[in-house]
């Protein structure tokens, strides 16, 4: 289905495709604005947004006796040390690096390689006095990536079966009826659209 029904002598300056392109440009710009805006947000414990390991890395003395929530991989168990890479905007650019934090008073046993999140206060020596913690075994992260990829494939197949697109119109159309995968192969080799 072609939505561009106006001729070249239309009084409209922009074709539907150009208007769509313009709209897309504005929205993608707004989306970038969201990423920049959210990147500019600094932690605020008063509203439950706590400083993290990156905050501690670039300002080690700035949070003594304050609550933080730090996350990292356990690299040592006695004493418990977690490690994480960070990137924090400081001044005019991102500072990146790796931080190691000593965790004191943990209420659970941990193993090297597992992911650990700790909520607690920063002690004067820079270690974190744990109040509560959450840990994840290393192999479970792999599970998450595998099933997430499966989900992506599932929804992609559903989209391709039920919808079709036109690069010329920059648009997506609902197919009159969903096609089978064999049908899609036939469409690919012949006429590409049923819109």
């Amino acid at each position: 289905m072609n939505v561009n029904l106006r001729g070249p002598h239309s009084s409209d300056v922009l074709s539907p495709r150009s208007r769509r392109l313009l709209g897309l440009g504005v929205l993608v710009g707004l989306l970038g604005g969201c990423a920049v805006g959210f990147g500019s947000v600094t932690p605020n414990p008063a509203v439950g947004d706590y400083p993290n390991e990156g905050s501690l890395a670039v300002n080690p003395d700035g949070y003594v006796n304050e609550y933080v929530q730090v996350t990292g991989t356990v690299v040592q168990t006695d004493p418990v040390v977690i490690e994480d890479t960070y990137s924090v905007w400081v001044g005019d650019r991102y500072r990146r690096g790796t931080i190691r934090l000593h965790i004191v008073g943990l209420d659970r046993s941990v193993h090297p390689g597992q992911s650990l999140q700790v909520y607690g206060t920063v002690r004067p020596d820079g270690s974190v006095q744990a109040r509560t913690s959450v840990s994840v075994r290393a192999h479970k992260q792999l599970y998450m990536y595998v099933v997430s990829a499966l989900a992506g494939l599932w929804v992609l197949l559903r989209l391709v079966r039920g919808w079709t697109g036109s690069a010329a119109d920059l648009a997506l159309y609902q197919r009159a009826s969903p096609v089978t995968l064999g049908g899609i192969r036939r469409l690919r080799s012949g006429d590409d659209t049923d819109a």
């Binding site: 990423a35 947004d49 648009a171």
Partner: protein
């Protein structure tokens, strides 16, 4: 929630149940809600293109996780809306928003050490609501439970199992 599969199951279940009330909700429209459920996780681009790389190139602070908020999701939904025919925009917008909202909500229930979730309503507010801590992002059972819910919903609504249809 956790993994994308659970998010897809939740959106499938919610949207397919809507078909009981609204006849126009075909499987094709259910797919739209499922795609909407993927919107907040566009923030996972971070895994391949680091915040710092983009930020330093732009000379501005930059966080992909801004897409995993009310504001980022709303703009993404609008992108989906202008890509479809005008006659379909209300339905597609509603379903994308349903999917994205179900994702943000499920993620607000994730277990955190601090007991506070994340700034889900940004840019309206930075407030991170308390989380009930129902699951970890790596837990297996949420995908089993949501998968069963999706299966039962499919049986009832699409296969006419029980009294409907």
């Amino acid at each position: 929630m956790p993994d994308l599969l659970s998010h897809a199951f939740i959106a499938y279940t919610l949207c397919t149940l809507l078909a009981l009330r609204y006849e126009w909700v075909s499987p094709q429209y259910v797919t739209v809600a499922m795609a909407g459920a993927f919107i907040p996780d566009m923030a996972k681009i971070e895994l391949v293109l680091d915040d710092a790389v983009v930020g330093n190139a732009l000379g501005l602070p930059f966080a992909w996780s801004g897409l995993h908020t009310l504001g980022g999701a709303a703009v993404s939904v609008l992108i989906g809306v202008i890509l479809v025919r005008p006659a379909e925009r209300t339905r597609v917008g509603g379903l994308l928003a349903l999917g994205a909202a179900s994702h943000l909500t499920a993620d607000a229930f994730l277990l955190k050490a601090s007991g506070r979730s994340y700034s889900v309503f940004w840019p309206l507010t930075q407030y991170a609501p308390p989380t009930p801590g129902l699951y970890l992002s790596t837990d297996l059972w949420p995908s089993v439970v949501t998968g069963m819910a999706a299966f039962v919903t499919w049986l009832i609504v699409r296969r006419g199992f029980g009294c409907w249809k």
